[in-house]
Symmetry: C2
Subunit: 330 residues, 2 copies
């Protein structure tokens, strides 16, 4: 397998944690990796024997994605996308500016033929069950009905290839179970998803509308929504979970006696905390571009990058892109 | 003060828990209450000395709100709204069908002059801080810019009257802090809220866009959004919190040893669990109708009803409706 192109400069903890993760994935998991970034900065982060493609520029977290992909021709994330386009890399991973990674993949790798708009698919942890795939988690703030129908197809294929779910249950996010609930967009999409057409090639089933409370349950495998709502759901959950974890931890360690009791409980709680950690999931997948493109959380640690690289390898091996192509081709 | 009209028949645990809560609020807290419901059912729930206005019908949880408010003229929630309209009650509380309660209040009590659309304002618990007021939490799935600007005014007034915040910080829910992020609606509302006009009479300040992760922090007092997004945020948080609580509890009590340690920690954790319990907040307020109208959670317990009645009394005493009237009048 061709190496996975890693944007060594993208992310709040780049290049240190990114390079450390890439090296670990290569040395301990045997994932082939090629790093893209400023040679000095990458060298200082000790890349071991990994190949480094020198790039003079970086799309920073605060950069405007549209402007920077045009101006920063030698940006690490753009170069990584070019490597996928040119067949020198099998996939790309970036924890940098989300818009920058999206624009790089779109401009350099391009869309799968027939795809209206690529969508960001994010696994939502459901401890004790497989994650729920939420899409679009932020690529398209405003969507047309046909795009959402296609998100259902892309999401169903992804849930099958990544989690081995034979017939993924797809739900449409709304404010009530009834087909009459929600915005005009949602009602229209509901009617389209109720038709058998979209399912034939994607292999999913439509369970109807689901509500916010269903996202973190094992009742549905794929939740389809527009990128505005999806991004808000994702960040609300992230914020809420982090808040509760911190508040509980503070309450449970406020005295010596409590801390002693907490130490007994910690090993039992740890798996749950790990399950809820976004770093455990390796990041979001940009579905609909003609290559495997993983956009990891800006706060990604080395562990997150290791997980992202494992997922990248698995999705290349499982031919995710081929499966997506057959699902959307006319 | 005139009694608060309680829909004794509304809610998953009606009339038992509703009547129990009403009686407790009356006997222990001195809140004047009048119950609306089927005489036999209410009598069986032991209303003590509370006045009962007999009603022959109930808008059930699964009823279509629009249809039932027209057909069920003697529904308990409609009668409660009529009592507010006629000045026989100072406020109304219902834990029943949300759409039914909204429609009853709208049709019988009517809007405050100048209000485009009433909105549901729900307090989101922020342990260690005052709750964040989220609106619209579900009354209007599709909104026009002017409605959202008015939600900012209604929300600011509510945060001031209910929580004593002198200059409530109002944020607009979006997918990024920049004014350029979000849907067309959000961008338009951002520009309108950045103008001083809306603040003059409502007393709020605009902190700009906020993201999903900011909802459960003390960084903002009021979060404004459309009713589709707001309802999904609310239910996502409810579902996520309940899920985490249950998963943690299961993990922490899976063996004898763990259970013993957990019993030490429980008193430290309990205040947090109580803070996060929607029953602690007494329900949502329908802001913009010409009377105090509280719509409690369908799962409301007696405690939730006691809290709702305390809030109702406080909002009548603090003249919430008068303050809302001055904020929106032209």
């Amino acid at each position: 397998m061709k190496p996975v192109a890693v944007d060594a400069m993208g992310g709040d903890k780049a290049p240190g944690e990114i390079v450390a993760g890439a090296r670990q994935a290569s040395e301990a998991h045997g994932v082939p990796v090629v790093l893209f970034g400023a040679p000095d900065a990458v060298a200082a982060a000790e890349p071991g024997g990994l190949e480094v493609v020198p790039c003079a520029e970086v799309i920073e977290m605060h950069d405007d994605p549209g402007v920077s992909v045009r101006r920063k021709k030698d940006a690490s994330v753009l170069r990584a996308a070019e490597a996928v386009r040119d067949g020198r890399a099998s996939a790309m991973v970036s924890a940098g500016n989300t818009g920058g990674a999206m624009a790089s993949a779109l401009l350099r790798i391009g869309r799968i033929r027939g795809v209206h708009r690529p969508a960001i698919a994010t696994p939502i942890p459901v401890p004790g069950s497989l994650p729920t795939v939420l899409l679009d988690a932020g690529a398209n703030a405003e969507c047309q009905p046909a795009w959402l129908v296609q998100f259902a197809q892309l999401g169903a294929v992804y849930a099958r290839v990544r989690y081995g779910i034979e017939e993924p249950r797809v739900g449409l996010l709304s404010v009530g179970e009834e087909a009459t609930k929600g915005t005009g967009l949602v009602k229209e999409v509901h009617a389209l998803l109720a038709e058998p057409a979209w399912r034939e090639r994607s292999g999913g089933s439509f369970v109807g509308n689901v509500e916010g409370r269903d996202v973190m349950t094992g009742e549905v495998d794929v939740v389809v929504t527009d990128g505005f709502t999806g991004n808000i759901v994702l960040k609300t959950l992230e914020g809420g979970m982090r808040f509760i974890e911190r508040a509980l931890l503070d309450a449970m360690t406020s005295t010596e006696e409590l801390r002693a009791a907490f130490e007994v409980l910690w090993p039992a709680v740890l798996p749950l905390v790990t399950d809820l950690d976004p770093d455990s999931y390796g990041g979001a997948m940009l579905l609909g571009v003609d290559g495997v493109c993983i956009i990891s959380h800006g706060s990604s640690s080395a562990t997150a990058i290791v997980n992202a690289l494992d997922v990248a390898r698995e999705m290349v091996a499982g031919d995710l892109v081929g499966a997506l192509r057959s699902a959307v081709s006319a």
